[in-house]
Symmetry: C2
């Protein structure tokens, strides 16, 4: 007898959430500047199954970007992946991940050719989803223990 079995027994994400994260090319990452002013930009990302994290890096000067400087000052970030699978009827789905970004000085090359060594590794503390279960206007929110 197997209790609590799932396809991703070690993940804080559900199998549906992981499949959705793997299906989307871009998300939008929000960081906060020292003056409390948020900043938000589209970014590529990778769901890292080993670390159960969202890994984000960049090319050609990632460590010089505003988001990198923001995170050095305040590691709290929010990351949203969403899309509109149908325009008629209007149907939306997505996942927001709030948490903390760890700044790694090396390792960015796992994200692909040409990536800078620096990268973010985001660990979720709160997860909000909508539409992943086919009910687009119903949000599900949970904190990560």
């Amino acid at each position: 007898m197997v209790l609590g079995y799932s396809l991703h027994p070690m993940s804080i994400f559900t199998a549906d959430e992981i499949a959705y994260l793997k299906s989307q090319p871009l998300g939008r990452l929000a960081t906060v500047g020292p003056d409390g002013q948020p900043h938000v930009m589209p970014v590529g990302f990778r769901f890292n199954a080993e670390e159960d994290s969202i890994d984000i890096g960049g090319r050609a000067g990632f460590a010089k970007r505003k988001k990198f400087r923001d995170v050095l000052h305040n590691p709290q970030v929010a990351f949203v992946v969403d899309d509109v699978p149908s325009v008629n009827p209007w149907t939306v789905r997505g996942i927001e991940i709030r948490g903390r970004a760890e700044v790694l000085e090396t390792g960015g090359s796992i994200l692909g050719p040409g990536f800078d060594p620096e990268m973010f590794r985001i660990k979720a503390r709160r997860i909000v989803t909508w539409g992943l279960d086919g009910k687009p206007y119903q949000q599900h929110a949970r904190s990560v223990p």
Copy 2:
């Protein structure tokens, strides 16, 4: 002789930026909670030519949403509209608007049928664009006087 003529002489946005904002159905709005934790969600929006603002509201309880509570505490927001006009070759474009959201207690009905009275009116203080001029990897940033 007309100096400084443009199609939108009273706007802080260029004609290209306004056309782009009008062409896109969704943006992503970042707010910041009292603890410095950002929050980001997809939202519909309207470019308001009269106010030179980005107007954002919602249905069925906008004033109860986290973003609304966040803005009451910290009016600083960031809003990004972006898309991928071509996957091959990979081509991106977009605009990020950082600024302050004014909370209006009434007026949301201008956004469409069924919208709650409460709404945000975002005035830009900093504008970053990429790809709107066909050069996707070149960012242009400016502060609004």
